[in-house]
Amino acid sequence: MSDVTSPGWLIARQSARFVLRESTVALLSLMFVVLVLISAWLGWSATSTVNHIYLDAAAFLQSAGQPVPTNPVLDISPLSLMRNMSVYVALIGALSAIVIGNRLVGLDRKAGVLPLIGIRPLGRNAYAGGKIAALAGLILGLAAVASAVAVATFLVLPAVTLTGLQWAQLAGFMGVTTLYMGFFGLIGLAAGAAARSETVGLLLPVTLWLTLTFIFPQLTANLNPTAAINPISALAVPPDTTFFHWAARLLGPFSLADAYKFASAGLLDYLPPGITSPSFIPPVINLILAAGFALAIAWRALTRLSMAQGDYNV
């Protein structure tokens, strides 16, 4: 039997097709793509406005006989045009990944097909591997669309030229983005498999996402929720007090939204000098470790899923 017809591959292909037929998955994925496009426009529009403000301010300062400072736009890397994408990935990208992960296993449970799958000649490992492969394929698909928008933006804008290193940084950012969405997708998959009810399977990862996005940054850096969704304001210096030093030390490695924000800011060149991630673990390593952990719990939940039970318990 060739690889393409292995049980794991069949599960992956069928699951991905099943999920793509879901209108809510299509809606959230469409929202993600639209917001990625908006983020490209926002980056261009905001930078262009600051440039115009500078030109007006420079004329005003010259007429007043005052010294004219350098244009802040010149200090900004062209890569930072994509800074808003990190916010939308942290919001809609993570939520889309949770829904995809949840639906991948939730649809099987709700349709009551697990006992049917259970009588087929395939092991639990093949089922788990197939589901994780389907999730990986769908998340990579979303990341590929986001990457295509980013690349097209940089190719279309006339005044923007990226060096080879900057293209590599952009590829690194897309890699980190895939990891971050993958973490939430795997948590969605694990909760969808382990939860007794469909709603709890969806709400548990959403609660985790809310906690990581809006509560942890407050503990590690006194960052209010609305500041956490602004790419620039989110990179604040934590207050210099014992509490925040300890909070960063203890909670920093678990504050994944912070890790993603700092990894993105570093790769897209908008990290202000002197500001570092609250975690003692470098942000990218932090995300790799978190994705590995999520993979382990998704594998455990999927391989322990009862194939004798059809629908949800409640």
Binding site: P69, P72, L91, T199, L203, N230, P239, T241, F243
Partner: protein, 335 residues
């Protein structure tokens, strides 16, 4: 004779009360409301405590700098003392209500509509002598009542902690402001409850309705204000573009006159979201926005009346829609 006199049900509001009381009992029995209220309370408490710790740090830094200047024989006027308005410490908590409170309202709306569908009890309930609007009104009242109770617990707890933490205590004016914020928070979260309730009641699949409601929440609560915030030129450069260019406030206003259209579009995107109206109103009433700190309540309420009307009209409009949409019993079985 009119329909009103022929149908005593129309004159008797008890079905509304009965359904509302039953829904509240159900919600309290399965502890869902207590769990989500506890989560919101925890998020708000974290915001309050971290804000207070950060302020204490600012005060300590100021005291140390002042002592150093005085030891050198210099005047301490050169450094600005940190301002302390106790209600400002509620900023993070208000933002948590703005985001997590709205998400919880969506969950309550979903559960309120989906519970009868899941238990297949709706057809049975609709055989009882009551109008369908009474069924919808009872459910909506219960949901909004639960939200009001949860928010009262959260804001009441925060007020008590603030009273003890601030060291100077809260006065009657402060309590009045917090009460007004509670009322507006109920109206604001009711908007999201009603969106989710209407979708869950009328869409074929309730779990799809929940996700669509979350898509609406993302757009109104996070994306629209974020776009407005991002387009603010002063948020594009660390520390602010005008601060970096050393331009005084009156000159900033003059320069920004050339960007009136841009600012109108930016403001329009923000204004389209009920969340921004909630934020503007509550930040003004609590003096979180610096320009309103220390101002009497009356003029603030007059200035913020537009935001207040927007919030209440949105919730009333959605409430009217929930009552007006005809219930399709075929749609109300478990999907």
């Amino acid at each position: 004779m009119s329909d009103l006199t022929l149908n005593p049900v129309l004159l008797n509001p008890s079905p509304v009360r009965t359904i509302a009381a039953k829904d509240i009992r159900d919600a309290l029995r399965d502890r869902f409301i207590l769990i989500v209220t506890g989560f919101l309370g925890l998020a708000a408490l974290v915001a309050l405590v971290t804000g207070a710790i950060a302020l204490r740090g600012d005060v300590a830094t100021y005291e140390a700098a002042k002592a150093s200047l005085l030891a050198l024989g210099k005047s301490a006027d050169a450094i600005k003392a940190p301002e302390f308005y106790p209600l400002r410490l509620l900023r993070g908590a208000i933002e948590q209500i703005e985001i997590i409170g709205a998400a919880i309202a969506i969950l309550i709306g979903y559960r309120s509509a989906a519970s009868e569908r899941g238990r297949q009890t709706l057809s049975l309930m609709l055989t009882r002598p009551m109008r369908r609007w009474q069924f919808v009104a009872g459910k909506a009242l219960a949901g909004i009542g639960l939200l009001a109770g949860g928010l009262a617990l959260v804001l009441g707890g925060l007020t008590l902690i603030l009273h003890l933490l601030s060291g100077i205590g809260l006065g009657v004016d402060d309590l009045l402001r917090i009460t007004i914020v509670w009322g507006v928070s109920v109206a604001y979260t009711a908007c999201f409850f009603l969106v989710s309730f209407i979708l869950s009641l009328h869409m074929k699949n309730p779990s799809h309705a929940l996700l669509v409601a979350f898509a609406v929440w993302l757009t109104l609560v996070l994306v629209a204000p974020q776009i407005g915030d991002t387009l603010d030129p002063d948020n594009q450069v660390a520390g602010g573009v005008f601060k970096q260019l050393n331009i005084a406030k009156p000159d900033q206003v003059e320069i920004m006159k050339s960007f009136a259209t841009f600012e109108t579009v930016r403001d329009g995107i923000e204004q389209a979201s009920v969340t921004k109206h909630f934020e503007r109103f509550t930040f003004a009433v609590l003096g979180i926005k610096a320009t309103y700190a220390g101002l009497p309540l009356g003029p603030i309420l007059i200035e913020m009346l537009g935001n207040l009307i927007w919030i209440f009209l949105t919730s009333l409009g959605l409430g009217a829609l929930a009552l007006a949409l005809p219930l399709n019993p075929d749609r109300l079985a478990k999907a």
